[in-house]
Point group: C2
Chain length 259, copies 2
């Protein structure tokens, strides 16, 4: 088996890296398929004649790369390729809201998955300073904060926090846990607001421990972060939404007209 090759003791490359290299090659060549178990630590120790810590260091490299996942008492497994979810750049199209579908719901339904929301908390708080700036509210002004978690088929995939100025939220059911069909954008349109455009800033980083917990992330999976601003016809920002997604569950998809 390719995963159990020989070490080059003359090489400068550390032993644990050589072991990681061989295992990685076996994974990418498919000789250890997705979902399959790697040789156990004991087997790797005996085969290469090294200490356990050395083997564990090699496995640590692969975990950090997100290639494998350890399961206590069972073994170390090649991470199965997860189902990707695609966020189309038309997911904020008015027609979805007219049909009573919020963006997340529309995407999930399109992929044949069951969308749910939990950990919903609606509060009044002072937003982070950068959010206040975008919303054009004072540094000490409170806004409506909707914090929630999205799940697909029961698995958490996305955290989102929306910030809405109080005067925009006023007189709408945005403050209610159930914002109704089409989501809060639909409610804003009901109240007479018109959206001109949405702006999204995308970046990626490793998750915080709290994000790891709430998204049930395996080690080695980064998060995609997305900050969306919903801009009104008069160029006022009606909402800022900070989203954190498990990167292995998402593809963000954008169309850019060649103007």
């Amino acid at each position: 088996m390719a995963a159990l090759g020989v070490l080059d003791m003359a090489s400068d490359r550390p032993v644990f890296q050589q072991i990681a290299d061989q295992l990685r090659a076996s994974i990418s060549s498919g000789s250890i398929a997705a979902g399959e178990r790697l040789p156990s630590e004991a087997v790797l120790m005996r085969h290469h004649g090294v200490a356990r810590m050395t083997v564990r260091q090699a496995l640590g490299v692969l975990k950090a790369e997100g290639l494998v996942v350890a399961e206590h008492g069972r073994g170390v497994f090649v991470r199965p390729r997860p189902v990707m979810r695609r966020l189309g750049s038309d997911r904020f199209a008015r027609r979805h809201r007219r049909r009573g579908r919020a963006a997340f719901e529309a995407d999930a339904k399109a992929a044949g998955q069951r969308p749910t929301v939990d950990q919903l908390h609606i509060t009044r708080q002072r937003p982070p300073v950068d959010v206040a700036k975008v919303l054009g509210v004072g540094p000490d002004e409170e806004v409506l904060v909707r914090d929630r978690r999205y799940l697909l088929d029961g698995h958490p995939v996305e955290l989102a926090v929306s910030y809405v100025p109080l005067d925009v939220a006023e007189g709408t059911p945005i403050r209610d846990p159930d914002s109704g069909p089409g989501g809060i954008y639909a409610r804003m349109e009901d109240a007479g607001f018109t959206f001109r455009r949405f702006h999204e800033d995308v970046t990626a980083r490793m998750p915080s421990p709290e994000e790891t917990r709430r998204l049930d992330l395996p080690p080695g999976v980064p998060v995609l972060t997305l900050r969306r601003s919903a801009v009104e016809a008069g160029n006022r920002v009606l909402e800022v939404c900070d989203t954190v997604m498990a990167a292995h569950s998402f593809v963000l998809s954008y169309d850019l007209p060649a103007k």
Copy 2:
């Protein structure tokens, strides 16, 4: 110092996690500022009365999160916040090409940085199967492949591989190392092609060892991957470009019209 708190031996939380937690808190509270050195392994061992491997495991957690970087012989440092580069969704606007600027060049100049390209390889190859599908070429058909690395002020920030059908490349300088002012999109327009739109799929993951090397990535930094398809008026895909970026150096920025 907050970084040198006390351990709760009664806690279920492993000792190395507790040490990592305390250091993380010190970093995010700013009591150890960006660029500053953490207490050395020896200090942490003495203070907490634990073995070296335990301290190293704690530091390993923070490295994996991308919060700190170890420098051999010097110490472990809080990772300084890197300069972010913003890719706007108008970066493929025709006006840039008319002014002789390719997308990367236009972005870099706007940020006051010096853009360069190296490791440029132009070959004819069979593309990956998924690329062939998008380009609408046969599975065994060769295409023109432009592989290159982009640098800002001498630091590598982005890897890109373009795939262009041979008949599109024919009669254009796309096959030359220097594609001329405005980049290969400008050359395609010179040859009479018209772009209707660009499509981008964005995702994130941990880098491969080769990407780590070519982008000179510190540990714990994920990559953003972007696959762009350039679509002609007749809906033919003229080019597929796979881009890999160091996530801590980029913000991708998109405008979505609220149609």
